[in-house]
């Protein structure tokens, strides 16, 4: 009974803190500017099923895709086991789902196989990150915390899966001994190979081991649940809404700034009709800080798992320029979190004198972009780093007049002679003569 109360307490506390963090993230995302992404709902569901559930964008890198798929399937299917663990913990039962008989046997067997495969995949990923010199895992923005974060996640998963398999090994021995409530249930294709490790243990030690591992497993899962929203691992949850609300238009289409439309209309005709959307558009041109970005761009930042596919396909980055689309997303999230911390500390909005532009992202990074959409195309969860780059450029140009000199020349030529080069408009038909 005491065990049940303690369990319920841990479960409650774990879920409470997780929910609190999610609410906090939600509030931060809501700081973004409004953007309508509630249209074309059926297309959105299809995109989410294809890209998030179906992992369709992962396949272009088959090795990573294969091992990622194992961890993904493991995560989803082993969650059924977590249901049983929670039920057992609350009701003080043991293997509550055992009456399912043959179905239960196969479920347990599949959990075991998946747990083993997940273990292997995590070891592969750990070595890929730490032993092989894969460029996208060894870049500047992935030093220190991001690298540690990735390793922590993989190590936790290895511990959780090992605990699960060892627990089953102890359970089997207790089942064989016919001890207490350890009813004969389940098929153990993997952990049956681990039983020799525990041979010679007394029944009491086995019970202790089984219980200890059981608690370790579930407390580990609750701890992991609370770690996720602070980590790059947040993508396991946000991949779904993020793909659902993704841009459905051709990737070449940039938004037309409504506040500019308003100004241009009025410049042509002071009595022009202004739509309510244009009238209510913010006065800021482009984005200076994260709060000038749309909520979707902020959700993008939280959904990024820092895999670096974007950066590894970015032509600017490949040729040694400072731009890294992954860093754009990481900076956006870091800045938003900083604003969140400021708000918690000061209990209100306060200006810390910093901004995403300049303090996190430099003009040199922004001006290296060719707007080729390679980063957008690569992202397995449909993040759009290009839109942030363009919004920051807009602010640089429209509010700071800080375009590179050559681009100012190009602007002037377009204004004066309607072409980015110095040619007279009257020469436009010359090609027909020569």
């Amino acid at each position: 009974m005491i065990a049940q109360i303690i369990f319920a307490l841990f479960l409650g506390v774990g879920i409470y803190f997780f929910a609190r963090k999610i609410r906090e993230v939600n509030k931060l995302i809501a700081l973004g500017q409004p953007l309508d992404r509630k249209d074309r709902i059926s297309e959105r569901w299809k995109t989410m099923f294809r890209v998030a559930m179906g992992q369709s964008k992962m396949t272009s890198r088959p090795v990573a895709a294969f091992f990622h798929l194992i961890i993904y399937l493991g995560f989803i299917i082993i969650n059924i086991e977590v249901l049983e663990i929670i039920a057992d913990g609350l009701f003080g039962t043991h293997r509550l789902f055992a009456p399912l008989g043959l179905v239960y046997d196969y479920l347990i067997a599949s959990f075991e196989v998946l747990a083993f495969l997940v273990l292997v995949a995590c070891v592969v990923f750990l070595s890929r990150r730490n032993l092989y010199r894969i460029r996208r895992f060894n870049m500047d923005e992935l030093k220190a915390w991001p690298r540690q974060d990735a390793n922590i996640i993989l190590v936790i998963e290895i511990f959780l899966m090992s605990a699960f398999l060892l627990m089953n090994a102890a359970d089997q021995l207790l089942q064989a001994a016919g001890h207490g409530h350890y009813i004969s249930a389940g098929l153990f294709p993997i952990s049956s190979m681990l039983t020799p490790i525990l041979s010679g243990w007394t029944t009491e030690s086995l019970v202790l081991a089984e219980r200890g591992l059981w608690w370790f497993h579930i407390l580990g899962i609750l701890a992991f649940l609370n770690y996720v929203p602070y980590s790059k691992h947040f993508h396991i949850l946000l991949a779904f809404p993020n793909t659902f609300y993704a841009k459905l238009d051709p990737s070449g289409k940039l938004d037309n700034l409504l506040n500019v439309t308003r100004e241009v209309k009025l410049a042509f005709d002071p009595s022009a009709t202004i739509t309510p959307e244009e009238a209510s558009a913010p006065n800021r041109f482009g984005a200076r800080d994260v709060t000038d970005l749309s909520w979707k761009q902020l959700m993008d930042a939280y959904s990024c798992t820092e895999c670096g596919r974007c950066t590894s396909s970015c032509p600017a980055n490949l040729t040694g320029k400072k731009l890294s689309p992954r860093k754009i997303m990481m900076d956006t999230r870091d800045r938003l979190e900083e604003i969140g911390r400021n708000r918690l500390k000061n209990n209100a909005e306060s200006d810390d004198g910093k901004s995403l532009l300049h303090d996190y992202i430099t003009p040199e990074e922004l001006w290296a972009c060719t707007s080729c959409n390679a980063c957008v195309e690569e992202c397995p969860v449909l993040i759009d780093p290009l839109s942030i780059i363009i919004d920051l450029r807009r602010n640089l140009v429209l509010e700071e007049s800080a375009a590179p000199q050559e681009l100012n020349g190009m602007f002037t030529r377009i204004e004066n002679n309607g072409a980015p080069w110095q040619f007279s408009p009257s020469d436009r038909m010359n090609w027909t003569q020569s």
Binding site: K253, G286, L318, N373, R393, L398, D427
Partner: protein, 262 residues
């Protein structure tokens, strides 16, 4: 010297004629020496196929694409408003252009500013002309030659047009070889996002060299392009590799026009 009879929209309007399609020449196509040859190839093909078309001529002005991508949304929308007013004034319905940047802007960004047209890239028009039998090409000057095609970002990834240019090139009976980075994985030539008009940021290599080297590694005789900016960047890249004698960079319209002896 070759002269073209290319009517402008204003001439046709005076004569009370509505063309099937408006040919948006673009700034590169009007002013850049190399791109002008592509413009002429397109005009030759349109004339050959009996398509009635017109250009805006001196009434055409930059779509605003490089300004928009460089962050100057004001200039972009000023350009767009003027162009939309001109195009709508002639009740234009359908536009073809040989520039993927103009194509993308006219097709995707003008509708929100009151400019609604059917916009196609010249690769799509060429494919249509071939499919409908208006343009008959089989083999010709490039038969059996090694050709690799470079996907322009604003045609490929930006608008998912990957097959039309390839199907056009198939009519040449050439030996098509694909770069590893092609279609949705195609590597940029380095000119997009207004890079065409500035020096690249500090790095260890120019993007057009990276791409040209990838193409040259396939030992092609022709690098086919479908964008005036890609044309400039890759031609430069080939020259920097001292390969301009062996390898030519050509637009798909030029290849098709040559193959058809136009």
């Amino acid at each position: 010297m070759e002269t073209f009879k290319v009517p402008t929209l204003s001439e046709l309007a005076t004569a009370g004629v509505t063309p099937e399609i408006v040919f948006w020449v673009g700034c590169a196509g009007s002013f850049d020496d190399r791109a002008r040859k592509v413009t002429k190839a397109v005009a030759r093909i349109l004339n050959h196929c009996g398509i009635t078309f017109a250009v805006l001529g001196t009434e055409e002005s930059c779509t605003g694409d490089p300004a928009k991508r460089a962050g100057n949304e004001f200039l972009f929308q000023m350009q767009a408003s003027n162009n939309v007013a001109t195009l709508n004034g002639y009740s234009v319905k359908k536009i073809v252009t040989a520039c993927p940047h103009c194509f993308n802007t006219l097709k995707n960004e003008y509708p929100g500013l009151g400019g609604n047209y059917e916009v196609i890239h010249h690769s799509e028009l060429l494919q249509e002309l071939i499919d409908t039998g208006k343009l008959r090409v089989q083999g010709g000057a490039y038969k059996g030659k090694r050709i690799t095609y470079h996907d322009p970002c604003y045609l490929g990834r930006a608008n998912s047009v990957y097959e039309a240019p390839r199907r056009v090139l198939m009519r040449l009976d050439s030996l098509m070889v694909e770069m590893k980075r092609s279609r949705s994985k195609g590597l940029c030539c380095g000119a997009g996002g207004a890079q065409m008009f500035k020096e690249p940021e500090q790095g260890n290599k120019d993007i057009n060299m990276e791409r040209a080297e990838e193409a040259l590694a396939l030992k092609p005789e022709v690098i086919a392009v479908a964008c005036p900016f890609c044309m400039t960047m890759l031609s430069d890249g080939v020259k920097m590799n001292n390969k301009e004698q062996e390898v030519s960079v050509k637009d798909i319209a030029e290849l098709l026009a040559e193959a058809a002896d136009l």
